[in-house]
């Protein structure tokens, strides 16, 4: 996939813009303005050379919740309030998605690391912090997907929406994969000490914990 102008923008700038825009949309109270903003963000996807599939994929996991929220807000408050809430959530999701899809994780992590460097004298290790960030970013979609899969399996067995039936297998599965992911990271970085100064974060970032999680799942 070719790199668009959004891909080329510095990660720090995109993160700052995202934080600013994310905070700003909270203050929009007119649903029509909010829908316009949503369309604007949606238009940014083709600008970023991301297909319609990427856009749909960002919103699909939220769809059931959006429908419920829309109906609940519409029936209890008003339909304009419902439109406002839904458009705001969709806008936030697409904006965040846009940043994550157009920014390499390495760049995001490097930015966080740079922002944290002044805190090093206070005992904050930027390398470890950025590793935690990058891992969490990678785990987010995997765990959401996994939750959905466990949910389907439990429904098929007639366990329905029992949170226990859902949470327990998910947590045990995720914890079991943690060992292998840690081992894989240590194997890739060549030693088990993330304090080691000569280690470059890029080397760790290139490792894809998704792959490890997937292997463990089978």
């Amino acid at each position: 996939m070719s790199r668009s102008i959004l891909h080329r923008l510095p990660a720090g700038l995109k993160l700052t813009a995202l934080a600013a825009a994310g905070s700003a949309v909270i203050w929009v109270s007119d649903w029509r303005v909010m829908v316009d903003l949503l369309l604007l963000v949606a238009l940014a996807f083709p600008v970023a050379r991301l297909g319609r599939g990427a856009l749909v994929q960002q919103l699909r996991p939220l769809l059931p919740m959006l429908v419920v929220l829309f109906l609940a807000q519409g029936l209890m408050a008003s339909w304009t309030e419902a439109a406002l809430v839904i458009a705001r959530i969709a806008t936030l999701v697409l904006m965040a998605g846009l940043v994550t899809l157009t920014t390499r994780t390495e760049d995001l992590i490097a930015t966080v690391e740079r922002l944290l460097t002044p805190l090093a004298p206070l005992g904050v290790n930027p390398g470890k912090v950025s590793l935690a960030f990058s891992l969490a970013l990678r785990f987010l979609p995997v765990i959401a997907e996994e939750a959905e899969r466990v949910h389907e399996a439990q429904s098929a067995r007639g366990l329905g929406n029992s949170p226990l039936a859902l949470a327990l297998p998910l947590i045990v599965r995720v914890l079991k994969s943690a060992e292998d992911i840690a081992d894989a990271i240590e194997a890739r970085s060549g030693h088990d000490d993330p304090d080691c100064p000569q280690e470059k974060p890029q080397r760790r970032a290139r490792f894809n914990p998704l792959a490890a999680l997937k292997t463990v799942k089978e």
Binding site: A21, G22, I89, A132, F139, V142, A178
Partner: protein, 190 residues
Amino acid sequence: MSTSLSTRDIVYIALFAALTAALALFPPITIPLVGVPITAQSMGPMLAGAILGAKRGALSMVLLLALVAIGLPILAGGRGGLGVFAGPTVGFLLGWIPAAWVVGLLHELGWRKLTVIGSFTHAMIGGIIVLYAIGVPVLAVHASLPLKTALFGSAAFIPGDLIKAALTGVIAMAVKRAHPIIEVRQSQPA
């Protein structure tokens, strides 16, 4: 527990931050009479403390809130961004960090003789009492409400939180049996 974090600790911290985010995807249940939506997400700090212990549990909540701050819409209702920290319920959010820490500390201290009831009590102390002790005063100041009104308004969430603490107790015990993470605190200097 050593003061330094291993790669494995960091993986656990990241996993529980992501897991707490995933809890937001569960559809909220609204209790008809009180009308407040109950989301599974506030089970995150209870689970993080109960399964990872004080330090790693609290750090996973720090990481989660940092991810929220950089704009990821991972809070229940698809909320994210710095705007979240401007709202009157911010205390209930930042309170996740000390809540997870206290839940974790109590689990570490009582780890050997942990029962479902014990774990439930720990989750209740950290995940409800500590959380509300921070959330309610912040709400009162932020929304210029009398403390009593803020407490009364927040109390509608307590039944849901009790259910979550009970689920945490069951899950924590099952995880202790299947895949224990917390190490027993030795009486050695750190």
